[in-house]
């Protein structure tokens, strides 16, 4: 059998990429988002997030304008301008991750890759220019050189961003493994509290091994940098800030950590809500104590003036935020973004009672809503 000759480059030019409709997919995402906002909770969340983001940007602008001639501030502005578009684009790409499998039923992997690259470039540059045009970030000394360099960086970084969404898009084996895991650990729920904790640890390790190792590496680098700088300079505030930063990282894990296990348990056994709340609190607080228990000697060895004067306050603050985060985590099992939005409401203290009221109302009617 002689295969027909076909021009294999037919679809690789720019015209065909546009024909293959990244813009159609973006338009569809806009439509999905518009429909998502039709739900009152989501609209409320986005408004709150928008207000918080705007207040943060205004305060950053205020601070940076005051110290505009400072080199360190200039570097900060530069990084901030790059960091925000990359962060937001990555969030967008992650949200579209499930869609990849579906799009692979309609197009080839290489086409999908091109479409995602195109979307990433577009999104990076769009957000970057929004930041510039609306003057959210003050001007730098070499503004034009900075803009051109940033555009280049934002285009060059695209392949790395794409790796996040396109690696292993189609491994059915892992899905099977996951199901076996869920069955094994979800439905044995007559376990005592420590059984639930073991389930969480196993889940964290078996499902997120690579992510966890990256996280440990990241925290190791952060601590090493803090120690390295603190040895050479007498910057006591730096390691205090480092401890706080890491405590917040734990809270971020709690909010972003998968909730499928709890969703399934609560669907069948809604009366387990408070038991899970208690378990999760014990687990994460123990995690906090063990983590800092291991970290403290490391600082103690290298930094001469090291003292733990800030630790009781940090622990108290952490306990409060931990309770708040775990309640939110269990109340809003369906969506990470919603969890983060509600957690950020802590920046507006009068909103906290309303959030808690909403959470406890959700706990009450779990058997109907999940």
């Amino acid at each position: 059998m002689i295969p027909k000759k076909i021009n294999i480059f037919k679809r690789t030019n720019l015209k065909s990429i546009i024909e293959m409709c990244p813009l159609k997919i973006i338009l569809n995402h806009i439509r999905v988002f518009k429909n998502w906002l039709r739900i009152k909770d989501n609209l409320f969340g986005i408004i709150i997030l928008g207000i918080i983001a705007l207040l943060t940007l205004i305060s950053i602008r205020h601070i940076t304008t005051q110290y505009q001639n400072n080199t360190a501030i200039q570097i900060f502005i530069l990084l901030f301008n790059l960091f925000i578009p990359i962060l937001l684009t990555n969030t967008y790409l992650r949200a579209a991750k499930k869609e990849n499998q579906f799009l692979l039923t309609l197009m080839s992997k290489s086409e999908l890759k091109k479409i995602r690259q195109f979307q990433t470039i577009l999104s990076n540059l769009f957000i970057f220019f929004i930041l510039l045009i609306f003057g959210i970030i003050p001007k730098l000394t070499y503004q034009y050189i900075f803009i051109i360099a940033s555009v280049f960086i934002l285009i060059l970084i695209v392949p790395f961003q794409i790796i996040i969404v396109l690696n292993k898009p189609n491994i059915s084996k892992s899905i099977k493994k996951k199901n076996v895991f869920y069955h094994k650990y979800n439905f044995k729920i007559d376990l005592p509290v420590h059984g639930l904790v073991i389930r969480d640890i196993l889940f964290l390790w078996r499902e997120n091994k690579i992510k966890l190792l990256y996280y440990i590496l990241f925290l190791f680098i952060v601590n090493s940098v803090i120690v390295f700088i603190s040895i050479r300079n007498n910057l006591n505030n730096l390691y205090v800030a480092g401890f706080h930063f890491q405590a917040f990282q734990i809270l971020a894990i709690i909010l972003r950590y998968p909730t499928e296990n709890n969703s399934k348990i609560l669907r069948f056994y809604p009366n387990y809500t408070y038991k899970i709340l208690k378990t999760e609190f014990i687990f994460w607080f123990a995690f906090f104590l063990i983590y800092f228990g291991l970290l403290t000697p490391f600082y103690f060895i290298f930094i001469q003036n090291f003292s733990l004067h800030f630790f009781p306050i940090l622990t108290l603050m952490f306990i409060m935020l931990l309770m708040y985060a775990i309640i939110i985590r269990l109340a809003f099992l369906e969506n990470t973004i919603i969890r983060i939005i509600y957690f950020l409401l802590i920046l507006i203290p009068p909103a906290i009672p309303f959030v808690l009221y909403k959470c406890f109302r959700r706990f009450k009617c779990y058997s109907y809503t999940i």
Partner: protein, 245 residues
């Protein structure tokens, strides 16, 4: 229409397919059965070149990777796991798929209305898919698949969770499409569906196709017996044992 030669596929050290050969003529409606984990979904993904493999696959006498570059829109693949945009309405979802395939909505509008009617989704067409049941979600993907005009359809458990009336409608539509020359590979666990619908049956077992026969040549009851022989299960004696307990 579709030829597979010496297909070998491994996931790491686990071998899923070994020296698999299959030749499906144009317009054939093939029922593909096999135990769980036999590699049916993998086989469909290999045809679509979504996974790497050893061997050769030809679609209309053209290697699949080349065919897919130019004729991707003449293949419809309906995966086992349903993906739908929860925050689109049923009509918007179908419209989006047509948009991606460069098919004008106006051209097939009558067809869409009829399909919504046939699958009893007319009154839900402007509701968000979020509010649909599992079966309704499956039906909306069936509509999106049937509204296109493909040459090859790869269907993986297409009627899972779908109500009886819609299964009857779906069977009739597949029969019609097959008569008009569309080649269809239907992967399913429901032997009755194959008996009533397909032109031929292929049993995938022990990493390759062990039986591939036209249904006229094989007695209908033989499919079940052959399948049970292959998977090595003496159902009668097990049921007798169960009755005794």
């Amino acid at each position: 229409m579709l030829q597979l030669y010496n297909i070998n596929k491994k996931y790491g050290s686990v071998e899923v397919l070994r020296n698999l050969n299959l030749n499906i003529p144009k317009g054939e409606l093939l029922g593909l059965i096999g135990p769980n984990g036999a590699g049916k979904t993998t086989l469909l993904n290999l045809i679509l070149f979504n996974l790497d493999f050893k061997g050769k696959i030809f679609i209309e006498d053209t290697p699949n990777f080349e065919y897919l570059k130019t004729h991707r829109d003449s293949i419809v693949y309906l995966p086992e796991e349903v993906f739908v945009y929860n925050f689109l309405t049923g009509l918007e979802f179908v419209n989006f798929i047509l948009d991606l395939q460069n098919i004008s909505f106006k051209k097939v509008e009558d067809k869409i209305i009829l399909l919504f009617e046939l699958f009893e989704l007319t009154k839900y067409k402007n509701q968000l898919i979020l509010n649909y049941s599992l079966g309704m979600k499956r039906k909306i993907t069936l509509i999106a698949a049937l509204v296109q005009s493909p040459k090859l359809m790869l269907l993986d458990e297409p009627v899972f969770g779908v109500d009886a009336r819609s299964i009857i409608v779906f069977k009739k539509l597949l029969k019609y499409l097959s008569k008009t020359g569309v080649t269809i590979v239907l992967s399913t666990h429901i032997i009755d569906l194959i008996k009533n619908l397909c032109d031929s049956v292929a049993i995938l077992f022990d990493k390759h196709i062990v039986v591939y026969e036209r249904l006229e040549k094989i007695r209908i009851n033989e499919i079940e017996n052959k399948y049970l022989d292959l998977v090595g299960c003496d159902v009668e004696s097990l049921i007798n044992e169960f009755e005794l307990l």
